[in-house]
């Protein structure tokens, strides 16, 4: 034991390890910080899990367009623990996005961005954007059909930027089309470049906590005054502060460990996300969807009127960045308590509700045609021969059902036609089929007159009154 102690003393003297520990882990924090303060460190915990599982996955994953998919399949099905590790990496990514969202909400509601912590907020904003970037580039590394077409979608969106759009688009593609160098480019960004920036900004973010101290829980009627705040804060710490480790850190540890346990459990029970078919430009039966954390954005773009779309694609991300930059620049002093900042509460509720409802819509995706719609069952058609029956067959084969539902069968892109005859006259129905509408193609050129008659007759039979006859 003596030797160990001597060794430690030698090491400590030469490195100053215990002094560093006292200055960092031992720094004083305000009292009553509580459980609201655990989400930042939990995001860091999830990030560490990402780094560890990511390195492990990279020992097998080959970032070449020809091999990536099969190495992932090997990881998922043959490599020992591979499926679990992929699952942990996926749920770790999800956790980071979710936790950083809660963390930014908490710091915004408590106005922790006010003097002197403006740079904490801004460096955190950069981290938030980098994390979203990691999510997007990571999804592409699966290199399945969804990933392949997502690259095109990203390039198309970038292409809407005025003047330099095409240049950005081709930079993303690393060429004229998706090809050999596209995937390795995303790999390099996902594995080296963005993580390097994240490490750097985490360093800045944590250093600023030490420099300016963690923000105290706000109190009503205690506005921040830049002239007096620092002196007041230091004085308060001297009177009531306690060392971060272990007095406050134990909560971070408890929550961080809980996050890891949940991650492993989800990876074990739910598992890694399913790989769709390998990325193949010649398979055109693909339905690209972003992972859940960008599903709401997919919904936003889908629900935007096409005329405004280009503006939304460019302005929505810019507005988001602006919302992140502005708070500490516009309001770095004054009340911090959310109860005295009703607009802040309103903004948070609006944002979460917007993202939440868009997310639900994105999950349903009613704007996408339902290609899997099966032909209408007999009890819905109510006829086994004749024009109504023929019309029902056409309703399926001509693709009407991809977009229109009848009695719960079919897509949701267009209006439900279960009782269409109650809304439209027979003539109106025919005219609509022939001429189409904004979101409906004109079928006049593709239907024969007898087909049109049968289809109209079938739709004429879609009425409430007919059903109530029996």
């Amino acid at each position: 034991m003596r030797i160990l102690l001597q060794l430690w003393n030698w090491f400590d003297d030469r490195t100053g390890a215990s002094a560093i520990w006292r200055a960092t882990a031992g720094h004083l924090v305000p009292p009553n910080t509580g459980w609201a303060y655990v989400f930042g460190s939990a995001t860091l915990v999830a990030f560490i899990v990402q780094v560890a599982t990511g390195i492990a996955l990279a020992t097998i994953y080959v970032p070449s367009t020809a091999s990536a998919y099969s190495t992932l399949q090997f990881i998922s099905t043959q490599a020992r623990w591979g499926h679990l590790l992929r699952g942990m990496h996926y749920f770790g990514a999800s956790a980071m996005i979710l936790l950083v969202g809660i963390h930014v909400t908490r710091t915004y509601l408590m106005a922790a961005y006010k003097y002197p912590r403006e740079m904490s907020w801004l460096s955190g904003s950069v981290l938030l954007l980098l994390i979203v970037g990691m999510g997007f580039t990571g999804q592409l590394l699966r290199w399945d059909q969804v990933a392949f077409w997502s690259v095109y979608i990203a390039a198309e969106q970038a292409g809407r930027v005025p003047f330099i759009g095409k240049t950005i688009a081709h930079f993303i593609l690393a060429g004229n089309t998706v090809g050999g160098t596209t995937l390795s480019r995303f790999f390099a960004f996902h594995v080296f470049f963005i993580p390097m920036l994240i490490f750097g900004f985490i360093g800045i973010h944590l250093y600023l906590v030490l420099r300016n101290g963690i923000s105290e829980p706000p109190k009503k009627g205690h506005p921040v005054d830049p002239k007096t705040y620092r002196a007041w804060y230091e004085d308060m710490l001297k009177r009531e502060g306690h060392p971060f480790w272990p007095n406050a850190a134990w909560r971070d540890v408890v929550f961080g460990v809980a996050v890891i346990v949940v991650l492993v459990a989800l990876a074990w029970i739910v598992g890694a996300p399913h790989l769709s078919q390998p990325a193949d430009p010649t398979i055109l039966q693909a339905e690209p969807r972003p992972d859940w954390y960008l599903l709401w954005y997919f919904a936003l773009l889908a629900l935007t009127p096409p005329k405004l779309e280009s503006y939304v694609m460019i302005l929505a991300p810019l507005t988001f960045v602006l919302f992140l930059i502005l708070p500490p620049l516009l309001a770095n002093k004054g009340e911090r308590s959310a109860w005295r900042r009703p607009w802040a509460i309103g903004l948070v509720i609006t944002c979460w509700m917007m993202i939440g409802t868009l997310w639900i819509e994105g999950k349903r995706a009613p704007w996408s045609p339902d290609f899997s719609a099966e032909s209408l069952p007999a009890h819905v058609v109510n006829a086994t021969s004749g024009p109504i029956y023929e019309g029902a067959q056409l309703f399926h084969s001509k693709g009407c059902e991809y977009c229109h539902a009848i009695s719960g069968y079919g897509g949701e892109r267009g209006p439900d036609l279960t009782y269409v005859r109650d809304r439209l006259s027979a003539d109106q129905i025919t005219i609509r089929i022939v001429n189409g509408g904004v979101n409906m193609p004109a079928f006049g050129g593709t239907l024969t007159s007898s087909e049109l008659r049968n289809l109209s007759t079938f739709l004429d039979s879609r009425t409430r009154t007919q059903k109530s006859q029996y």
């Binding site: 070449s64 367009t65 020809a66 091999s67 392949f148 077409w149 095109y152 979608i153 390039a155 198309e156 969106q157 292409g159 809407r160 095409k166 240049t167 081709h170 930079f171 593609l173 690393a174 060429g175 004229n176 089309t177 998706v178 090809g179 050999g180 160098t181 596209t182 995937l183 390998p278 990325a279 193949d280 430009p281 010649t282 398979i283 055109l284 039966q285 693909a286 339905e287 690209p288 773009l301 889908a302 096409p306 704007w367 996408s368 045609p369 290609f371 084969s397 001509k398 693709g399 991809y402 977009c403 892109r413 189409g436 509408g437 979101n439 409906m440 193609p441 004109a442 050129g445 593709t446």
Partner: protein, 181 residues
Amino acid sequence: MNMRPDNIQAKKLQEPASQESRDKEMDRRFFNKLSLALLGFASLLVGIPIIGFLVDPLFRSAPRLWRQVGAVDDFKVGDIAEVSFDDTSALPWAGLTGKTAAWLYRQEEQEFVAYSANCSHLGCPVRWESDAQFFMCPCHGGVYYKNGNVAAGPPPRGLTKYPVRVQNGQVEILTSPAPIT
């Protein structure tokens, strides 16, 4: 801690400057500029090849070649079929992505039209629905007529057409960059 040398310097500056201290100040400025300039030079030395390497694909236009996609008689007049062909710039490790798919429409006996499979809206793969006689996009429900024109939905313009020709009984498509709307 590192404030101290600066303080000393500041004090010295306030004193009536001796020739020696002025020389030292000149030295300090010179070394400062020299070091910054050297570091800048080194950054350019390393940075220029890296940036050039990354943006190179923007300046390299792949040669455009005619690719055979099948014999004329493989396609029925009035029908639309999926064809695929090799990119010109396909790298040895590109695997499946070294190919491009297109929709080929045999309009007349000797007249073919080739459409890009990318929806003009956001680039999703459109599929030909032969019964309905429409191209449909799975993402946001864009619909195109057989002639490639927009029939419904959000696409801002019709499907991009690839140059196509018939040569010695073979249908050939000219390889083209991915259409970015």
